[in-house]
Each structure stands twice: as structure tokens, then as C-alpha cells.
């Protein structure tokens, strides 16, 4: 069990989770989005918190199937703010969050469909005037309107932050993995569909969207005046680069050499 998976006491905390429609990377079928599912998981591990799900988008059978994936994690109801396809969901989400006034809003870092720029949490935070933090790994405690949270850094490191609530936090893949979605609860879960006026995203229509091209691999360019050097660099094998081999040394000497390298690299704490 990872160290940050402990449940913390957050009695009476009102948590809203913004969920989106995911897309399976191989089969391209709709599913619950991975990061959003982790956000739901994190909300569910907060003991004593009341969790509400919110989704802004179309209401059709494919999307319903995907959203039921979140309901199957043990949530009774999802609020669906109905929008046209390709609509700008920021105004409607802002309005809904302002009305429901949760203390903590959790969401994934980036969507799995559409533009997937990951700017939405920041736009909501700006519109609501709330602080936003990214890469939430765990909520340690919530007291007197201040949450102490752990933020995930690269290389498995964590940073402890104190945030004044209400706040928006995004969750990425360094958060604990989401629990399985159970079929029964997913069927039983209810949809609270609320039709809303939708604003079309005008910029999106001007963009050209196509399947991703493979990125060209960067070539190793050798800048040298002599053709011989350039040829040698192009034809040279990449490996065999100056490794040091210690032969016939006592274990102590070998250990000393390794110790020196570890210290130089700064991995000994």
C-alpha cells in the first residue's frame, strides 16, 4: 500500500468531482477517464466527506455507459449538466459550482478526448476566485477551512501544501489507482439530468483536427568541419562509451568506488 493512500478524516467536507468521458487508448471505446476515476477514488477515501459527481456534456447512450463506470465505484447519483456537442463547458460548470458551493473540487489533470489542454480547472478557479493545485497525491487533513495535502512531484517525491478552502485540485496518474467499477451499483445509479443553455466553442470549429502523426525522431547532428569526423560519428556504435571496470579489487575498494559514484550523483540521503 502506498504511503499516501491512508484515509483522512474530513467529516462534513463537501467534495465535488468533475468527471469526463474517457477513451480507451487501444479500442477507442468510451470508458471512465483514468485520471477522473482516480479523483473519484480520492474523494471516496476521504472518510466522512459527502461526494457528488458532476459531468457537463451530451446525454446519449455511449456517454451514459461511460459515466456509469464512475457510479459503479459506489456513488448513487451523478449530476449531468446537459450540453450540446462541442460546447464550452466552463460557464455552466462555474455556475453549477457556485450554486452548490463545495469545499473541494477534484478532477483529472487532462481529458482523454477533445482538446485535452488541461486548462479547465484553472479557468474554473479563475472564474470562482479559488486557489488551484495540481498533482494532488493525498489529502492529509482538513481543519478550519484549511486542507493539508500532498502534491506529487516527479521521481515519487511529495510536497506538503496547505490550501485555504474552497479549492480546486487536479489529480494525475501519481494518485492511487481507482477501484474497480461494479456492475450492480453502476446499473442502479441515477442520473440527475439538468438541461442547460450551451455556448458553442467558436475557436474549436476553426481548428483542423486529425489523427496524430508520428513525431519525427530527432537526428544526431554532428557539426564538424571534416568529413571524416562526420562519417565516424555517423558510423560509430553508440554503446561502449567509456565505462570503468574495476578488476582484481578487494570488496572494500569496489565499495568505495561505488560509494563515491553514489555521492557524486547525490542519491544518498
Amino acid at each position: 500500500m502506498p504511503p499516501d493512500a491512508q484515509s483522512s478524516s474530513a467529516t462534513g467536507l463537501n467534495v465535488a468531482v468533475l468527471v469526463s468521458i474517457g477513451r480507451h487508448p487501444l479500442t477507442a471505446r468510451t470508458r471512465r477517464a483514468d485520471q477522473d476515476a482516480r479523483a473519484v477514488e480520492m474523494a471516496l477515501t476521504l472518510s466522512g466527506a459527502s461526494v457528488s459527481l458532476m459531468h457537463a456534456g451530451q446525454h446519449d447512450s455511449d456517454n451514459e455507459e461511460a459515466i456509469r463506470g464512475y457510479l459503479g465505484m459506489g456513488i448513487d447519483e451523478v449530476r449531468l449538466l446537459e450540453q450540446m456537442p462541442q460546447a464550452d463547458v466552463v460557464p455552466v460548470l462555474t455556475e453549477a459550482l457556485r450554486a452548490s458551493a463545495p469545499q473541494l473540487v477534484l478532477t483529472g489533470t487532462r481529458a482523454e478526448t477533445g482538446e485535452a489542454s488541461g486548462i479547465l480547472p484553472y479557468l474554473l478557479a479563475e472564474a470562482l476566485g479559488w486557489p488551484v493545485i495540481n498533482g494532488l497525491a493525498a489529502v492529509e487533513k482538513v481543519e478550519k477551512g484549511v486542507a493539508t495535502v500532498l502534491q506529487a512531484l516527479p521521481r515519487g517525491k511529495r510536497r506538503r501544501l496547505r490550501v485555504r478552502l474552497p479549492a480546486i485540485a487536479t489529480v494525475d496518474t501519481s494518485a492511487p489507482a481507482a477501484r474497480q467499477s461494479a456492475f450492480g451499483p453502476a446499473r442502479r445509479g441515477e442520473f440527475d439530468v439538468q438541461p442547460h443553455a450551451s455556448e458553442a466553442d467558436s475557436a474549436l470549429t476553426q481548428w483542423q483536427i486529425q489523427p496524430a502523426r508520428k513525431r519525427p525522431k530527432r537526428l544526431k547532428i554532428v557539426k564538424s568541419s571534416s568529413a571524416r569526423d562526420r562519417f565516424k560519428a555517423a558510423a560509430a556504435k553508440s554503446d561502449g562509451g567509456g565505462g570503468q571496470t574495476l578488476n582484481d579489487v578487494t570488496p572494500e575498494q569496489g565499495a568505495e568506488a561505488i560509494f563515491k559514484l553514489l555521492r557524486e550523483e547525490g542519491v544518498l540521503r
Binding site: 482523454e112 484553472y122 478557479a125 488551484v132 511529495r158 567509456g242 571496470t245
Partner: protein
Amino acid sequence: MSELVRRDPRKEWIARNRLHPQHLEVLAEIGGNAVATEWMGPNGLMRRNPHAVGFMGPNGIRRIDRSGASHAAHTNARSTQSQDSRRQVTINTPAFMVAVVPDMAGGRLSPHDRDLLGLARQLADADPENPGAVLAIIYGEHKENAFGEAGVDRLLSLEGEQFDGYTPENRIAALQGVDREIAPRYWLLPDSTVGGGELGRRLSVRLGERAATQVWQVEADSDSDTGWRCTTRGAAGTTDIVRALPRVVLALAECADPISETRHAAEPIELSRGLPNVLGRIEDIGEVAVDPASVSLAEAEFILSAGNGVKDWDNYHHAAEVLGATKGASRVAVDDGHMPRDRQVGATGTWVSAKVYVAVGISGAIQHLQGIQSCEKVVAINLDEGCDMVKRADLAVIGDANAILAALVTRVEQYRAEQEENRDAA
């Protein structure tokens, strides 16, 4: 030594005069004390001594390398001095500014930052009549001293205790101040998890611009309003979105080539107005010590990996604890039941990206070597000198893994004790 070439007319005259008694000595002296193979003849013709060139080949036959490589060894030190041929570029009155906020991970420009500066130069230098200047904005202290070589014209170093630690609100307020005062035409940030990705998103929201994120290609395009179009990755990397280049750009690594042919001024500038002080709602309490055993293998920094050569497993586990390393294993160790499956490193297990990877008793199957491709430093402890892991390793120690691990544990414990003493004394 002076760059000027000092000519000695008398010696040159002797070198031209084959009948002069000192001719050969002077030739040798001019030729950098090597056997002269080429000299100016008395009529101004170049003369060659074919017996003095080349080297003896393996079959005892004289070989002549005409590529110039062996000849280069004969030339004297003055001419082999590698000259910095990069062009110095100074832009005194820039038509516009392109602002770059590099990550400066570890206080230095990362390769991602350099690519981004390359992209900034591309945008700034598009019109040679009205060149723009690249402005780099740095927070706090840094260790970088080659900003000019990376393509920076102006350097704005924002200092103050409000930028210590994780302070996105203060940093954004400072960037907003820069935007008001300098009004750069473009803002470029690295789309990285460390800081640029978050800062750029905050900035785009604050400036009211719709940023392009995950940009991997920028091309000139006369049809678009800005004269540029960019290709960005959307939908979790499965689509490409082609759009006009907006003001705020968050670019991926390798979006452009880093600068290598020019040098720039990196002239320090300052803001005329002071930076606003923001009441932050996010407080940084500091980094948390993480138990290395719980860090997932893919993101671990320091891995001690065990293979078939490890016989005393208690010793190995103890060593991993003392060193503070994350445990890894080869396929054999996992198959034999010594280590859990989720600790397997390699093509079938986890692809690791550790800074230091210590392979204890792992001979280095190709699948395993694939898994450690992106590790920076590899240390091998092995009995077999000829194994593939030793070839891959930056440091290989040939010997009994157990004894070496035990010695390493003793050494580290000794080091820890010394540190403890120093701390007590201080």
C-alpha cells in the same frame, strides 16, 4: 599565447633554400618539430616528401591516409586550437520580445528549456529586417552560465523570497507585471510536469489567452493571423490539432532544435516597477521524506536491482534499506520467487528511468538492458567480466556480490555516522 601568427622572414628564407646548411633543422622547427612532409620550394612550389607521410599498416605496407586525419596530428598546436566559430548576435533595438520561462530544473537549463529557446529564436528571427529579442525569465538563484549560448538576448532574473519554494501565485503575479511592462509578443513555456506546464496554464488564464498546449511543431503560415501555425497533441496524444499560434504556447520537448551556431548577449534587464506582493492561499510546507520501498519502480531515482548472482537475500534487502534504494529485480530473481513480480525490471516488467541503477549479479539479458535504457548511471557488480551488463555499465566492479554489498553497507553506515557527528557538533 597570442593569436597573432609571428613570422620569421629569415627562417622562411632558410626553409625555401634547400642548400642552406640549417635547412632541415628549420624545416623541422616550422613543422612543429615533426618530420617535415610538405614545404615551400625555392620557386614557391609546394614540395612533398612521400617517404615521410603515412604510417606502417598491419601488413608492413606503408599506408597513406588522405582524409587529413593523420595529417592533422602533425600540424602544430596553434592551428589545432579549436576556434569558437559561433557567430555573435546582438540585437540592440528589438522590434518585439518573445518571453520564455524555462523550468531551470536543478538551477540549470534543461534540454527541454534549450529546445524551447530554439523555438523562441525561430519566432524572433523570422523577419531579418525587424528581429525580435528572446527574453528569459528566471526565478531566484541559478547555476547556469551559458544563457547567451542557448539563445537568450535579454535575461530578467526575478529575485526575492516570495519566489522560494512552491509559490505559483507570486510567480504568476510577477509574470503579469512583466506582461504589462514589456508586453512580449509570445509567451513560451515548457509543457512539463515540473513547473512550466502548470505556470503556463495559470498564465494563459490570467492573460485571457487560449493557450496552445502540447505543441510539438511550429511552422510559418501566411494564412493565419499571427503568421504562424502550430501542431498540438490533443485527446491524450491521439489527435493532432492544427491551429494558428496563440500568444501563450506550452511546447513539448524537441519542439525545435536548440541553438548551436550563434551566441547571444544575454543582457540582464530589470523591471522599472516593483513586483506586486500577493497574499497567497497556497502555503508550501516543504518536501516530505518518502519511503523508497514504496516508490513505484518506474519513477524511482535510485534502484538496487538483484539478479541470479545474489545468493544471500537478507544481505541484499538490508543493503537496499541502508542505501535508501528502491528494490528491483531481474526476471530470473522473480521467477525463482525471491522478489515479487511488480519489482521486475525489463521489457516484460517495468521500464525504469533511474538516475543511478545498481545491478547486483545481473548479467544483462537484452530485455533487461532495454528496460534500463533511460537510466543515467549504471553500476554493475558481477563476477563475470565479459557480460553485457558490464559493457553497459558506467562503473563495473568485478567480484563477489555479497562481499561487495556488505562492504558498501559498512561504508555507508560509516558515512552516516560521520554525518551524524557533524550535525551534533554543529
